[in-house]
């Protein structure tokens, strides 16, 4: 267990160090998310669909697509100078490598959300105080599942010739359940409904997280080792 945590920390720290040094992917993902929100903002008809419906939907669409940009980066980095082979040669538990990659990806996605969520609040005039603590909890729960399945699939996609194209094709169908839950729950939170009304969505997201984190830990060896 100590090995798992130590190696996962080393992998995550390495990925974050590279990203914060270059800032290329984070910047691209954040700009991408902001652009999606801007497009939604100017193309909506406020008299047809209330802001509390379109705002959270736009937020999760922006997060999903920005996350694909961030997730693609995770293993493309390992193609550089065939660094992936060094990971495969390491006598490290494969679960630790998955966990490290997942944690780094989670930090990226949460940072993108930290930029996108205030923009969504601003553009769609969403009542932040009404949403309360349910919103950060929702963001984290939805992001963990999204990143867990994304990390596993990006490790598979990176071994194909068209990795950047493959990831969205593989990932987006898996994101339909958590995004539906996240958008539904956030609409209710911004509508000022009680937390008890979204507990079902939150439970669903927690189970989704558990399933895909467990699958990632178990299947990562089969994905990265030939």
């Amino acid at each position: 267990m100590a090995d798992l945590v130590r190696i996962a920390f080393a992998v995550a720290a390495k990925d974050l160090r590279v990203e914060f040094r270059t800032r290329s992917t984070l910047l691209a993902a954040a700009v991408f998310a902001a652009l999606i929100l801007v497009v939604f903002n100017f193309s909506r008809d406020p008299t047809a669909v209330p802001d509390s419906v379109i705002g959270p939907t736009a937020l999760w669409v922006a997060v999903a697509f920005a996350a694909v940009v961030a997730l693609n980066r995770g293993f493309i980095l390992e193609r550089q100078n065939a660094a992936m082979d060094a990971l495969r040669l390491a006598p490290a538990p494969r679960g630790a490598l998955f966990l490290g990659k997942m944690v780094a990806n989670l930090v990226f996605v949460l940072l993108v959300e930290a930029i996108a969520a205030p923009l969504a609040v601003l553009f769609f005039d969403l009542p932040l105080t009404t949403a309360g603590w349910g919103l950060p909890l929702l963001l984290v729960l939805a992001s963990v599942g999204l990143v867990a399945v994304g990390t596993l699939l990006s490790a598979m996609a990176v071994r194909t010739r068209f990795a950047e194209l493959m990831l969205p094709v593989l990932l987006l169908p898996f994101l339909v359940p958590p995004l539906t839950a996240a958008a539904g729950a956030s609409q209710r939170l911004f509508d000022g409904r009680p937390l008890s009304e979204v507990v079902g969505w939150l439970r669903f997201l927690a189970v989704y997280d558990l399933v895909f984190v467990t699958l990632g830990l178990l299947l990562f060896s089969a994905v990265i080792d030939e």
């Binding site: 090995d3 130590r6 190696i7 080393a10 390495k14 160090r17 590279v18 040094r21 270059t22 980095l77 550089q80 100078n81 065939a82 660094a83 082979d85 060094a86 990971l87 495969r88 040669l89 390491a90 006598p91 490290a92 080792d225 030939e226």
Partner: protein
Amino acid sequence: MPSAEPGLLEARRITRRYGRTAVLGGVDLSIGAGECLLIAGPNGTGKSTLLRILAGLTRPDGGSVRLGGVPVVEARGRLGYLGHETFLYDDLTVAENLTFAMRLQGCDVPGALGAVLARAELLPHRDRLVRHLSRGLAQRAALARALIHSPPVVLLDEPFTGLDAASAAALTSVLIEMRTAGVAIILVGHRAEEGWDAVTRVAVLANGGWVHEGPRPATVPEFEERVREVLRG
């Protein structure tokens, strides 16, 4: 290339095809502690593929590789491998790359990094990004990464690429030192004179199998002449 005694690293009946082309057709290999085997042969005869199979990076279509009696994929920590690429991250410094490698190998004890950098003569370059290193310096850093955990078996695929004469001589000295200390080394190279003083056995791979193997001849020209003879058939 069966050996009379069971080796530290043993490969049995290794086969590998790429599409319709059989690159390796039932290759045996055995190397013991304190041996340094030079594998030579024309381009495209499967030398690098064989090395990747020995390292557990490529799965053979048939056959098995055992290190110290266990399947090589279960003994990864006992193996050092240097391939055609450096396995380094361009946006990390030399020190950061080596520290990460030590953490992966579980040998990141305090003070170890300084010793590794000093041995590879990389101390003046420790804080330079890998993307800013020359090919030769990057190759030295890659070698340091491959040997960082002092493995008992070392697989080197053209390790002299990009090294200047002084660095190549220094690497040969390191190989002799490691071999004397009981490390088993397999060296793949096109220029036999590189690392020749460290070599104890030679083998030539062609047409999917060994066409020559034996103790190291006295001189490089003698070996090259033998290689030419066996390749002519």
